[in-house]
Point group: C2
Chain length 403, copies 2
């Protein structure tokens, strides 16, 4: 049977292919962090837009120094943000500030620590290095030219990318609309934290793990709900959540139990199954489908470790694909010690980071079954090991997925 299951790579590819693209919206600079660009940004100006002084000091004519002059009358001060002065005479200099435009007639900047000033005369210090033409000047257009492509569509916007958009004079950019995501737990054993518990009940925690991970990855249009193991209620509540969201993440109800109604109800509601089950441990019962309105539905197995592993391995890349993001290269790492994979399934092994003689590597931190979040504390994420039986050696390069 497991030969017919998708591998993790196949499951991820199916998700990337099927995930419905979110529409583009115009968002202001302050809301762009973590968003995915849906337009190309081309430069509106040369960058820098002028020959920019990069040190506080004086500017003068290099030829004048070459001709033997090493003291200059200070003819004025060129502040950052001011229109350029013109050097009145080849024997003069102009005091310049970092960020200022290079004054007209100057091609040499000497920093303030290399001069002595007295009575309006700047004298080059004997112990300072000789001036060099065009040094301490960031030349116009050296970083980019007007019309150059600065950022391609599909780029994720981090601090530098947001600053490039601001530098380009834009107040807004076209990005994927942040997905509206609902996270739903199922299972009659779950009770809201803080409510009284019977001995056979447990507090609802998976949903809070999923919400925390989504927030940590920059998603904020989030809601959540709990639905009991009751067919009519499940049908009614899932219908309503499907109508209001782009993405539905369910935890629990997808294994083989008599009360695992989730796949049945999803199909009744017009959600087309793309796959059910992946050749992996933990998280084999993962279910993925697409609703009639394009909603993306991830039904994650309810065991805590399975939920968080499947969220990280599949849902986060799926959300990026839905935003139109260019796929990122996955990080890799090797193990600190060899590890035996027994099942004929890909194994997701939680790890901590450690140092070996060969540098940073991953120390296996296996969980007891997939039942408990406490076993994940201190881990950075998990590595993906190929299906067994096999022994994965220390020098193998493995994909690392961070929580």
């Amino acid at each position: 049977m497991s030969s017919r299951l998708l591998s993790p790579a196949e499951a991820e590819a199916a998700i990337r292919q099927q995930a419905t693209q979110l529409p583009a919206v115009h968002l202001p600079l302050a809301a762009l962090s973590g968003a995915v660009l849906r337009e190309s940004i081309t430069s509106t100006r040369d960058q820098p837009p002028f020959d920019r002084v990069t040190m506080d000091g004086i500017a003068f004519s290099f030829e004048s120094w070459q001709g033997g002059r090493n003291s200059f009358r200070i003819a004025g001060t060129q502040a950052a943000g001011a229109a350029p002065l013109t050097l009145p005479d080849r024997t003069d200099c102009i005091e310049v500030m970092t960020g200022a435009m290079l004054p007209i007639g100057c091609d040499c900047v000497v920093p303030v620590e290399n001069i002595d000033v007295s009575d309006g005369i700047a004298q080059l210090r004997d112990d300072a290095p000789a001036p060099v033409r065009n040094v301490n000047v960031h030349a116009r257009g050296i970083d980019s030219r007007r019309g150059d492509l600065l950022l391609p569509s599909g780029c994720r916007l981090g601090p530098a990318e947001v600053a490039v958009i601001a530098s380009n004079g834009q107040t807004h950019a076209s990005v994927a609309r942040p997905p509206r995501i609902v996270v739903i737990s199922t299972g009659d054993e779950l009770v809201e934290p803080g409510q009284p518990l019977q001995d056979w009940q447990i507090s609802r925690s998976n949903v809070y793990a999923v919400l925390a991970s989504l927030r940590q990855h920059g998603y904020s249009t989030l809601s959540h709900d709990h639905v009991p193991d009751d067919l009519p209620k499940l049908r009614e509540r899932l219908r309503s959540h499907l109508a209001a969201n782009d993405v539905m993440i369910l935890s629990g109800g997808v294994s083989m139990g008599r009360f695992d109604y989730v796949p049945q109800v999803l199909q009744e509601l017009g959600v087309r199954m793309i796959f059910h089950k992946v050749a992996q441990r933990p998280g084999k019962p993962l279910w993925f489908g697409v609703g009639s309105g394009g909603q993306t539905v991830y039904a994650l197995p309810g065991n805590p470790v399975s939920t968080l592993v499947c969220l990280t391995r599949y849902v986060l890349p799926g959300l990026q694909a839905a935003q139109g993001a260019t796929a990122r290269t996955v990080e890799t790492i090797s193990l600190a010690q060899s590890y035996e994979v027994k099942p004929p399934l890909a194994v997701f092994l939680p790890v901590t980071l450690t140092q070996s003689v060969a540098g940073q590597c991953a120390l296996p931190h296996p969980t007891r079954g997939s039942g408990d979040f406490t076993s994940l504390i201190g881990t950075v994420g998990f590595v993906e090991l190929p299906p067994g039986p096999r022994v994965v050696m220390e020098d193998a390069s493995l994909p690392l997925y961070r929580w």
Copy 2:
């Protein structure tokens, strides 16, 4: 002179030591992601709190099977979240669902795929592995015992940690109050994006990079301002921002120019300087101080790359320290090719990630001076190289700071 400057490690240590601790507040589960815990969490129950079934299937008495029995009358169904049934007779079994309490009298669970059911009788399949006592049961207390320390104070709350708090039945936890942070740009050359520009002006972008980085790292109580190079205005606005914030981040105005008023004004306003300048490139003019009300003030050099490097290398760890977070081990990585460090200063070298035969390593992506954000696009962060002159070889393990 540079022998008297602090090294980056010394500057970071000074910041960690001086950063004023933020008070603790009680926040609800939904707001805990990324927060720093300020209480110890001890387990209120055994985890799991009962012998929990981990597969859908049937439960029976192992001794009964040992005695030769391989078919069982199904005496009932034990659902997740229901009070435990009792096995009526040693010849019976009980249908069990994942997450259910193990029925009383049972010590063996066989998954549904290993049985055939007909006429209310479950028959173990001949081709299935032999049942094992206590397998497919997550035993009470195996993960943690009531009273065990689950999370120490100082722990950063990621998805697993938030879920542990929820599992423990808590609706809230005591965490550091999120810092109120103001980000202030200075410099008359800066114009708000979207406003008309003179040739010698540039759009204000550093502040947007700082805000995007802070948001990406989970900080959301943010404000920003721009103050011109004018002494009275600077004094008045910084006074007002100091009164309203825990942390002030300034960009620009800390080098040696005549209009670099920031250190002077900060001292007038009672902000005690802890250090000014660090033996590093870029970012040498970094200024750090503590206000009379305990405000932490970082004045970052105004060149774009310097601003973002100093934010990442100093401000982010300082914010963690102010929240009471346990210091994290810094990630390390080696270079894909040797690199020559010329100045007698620590060098922060932006890098991209790449694969070599030895695994993942860092490819130098040097910037042209420190003038432009476009040179940082595609980089993951920077490595810290020790002061030169020296050649850093490929096998050296270097600290990696991600944006």
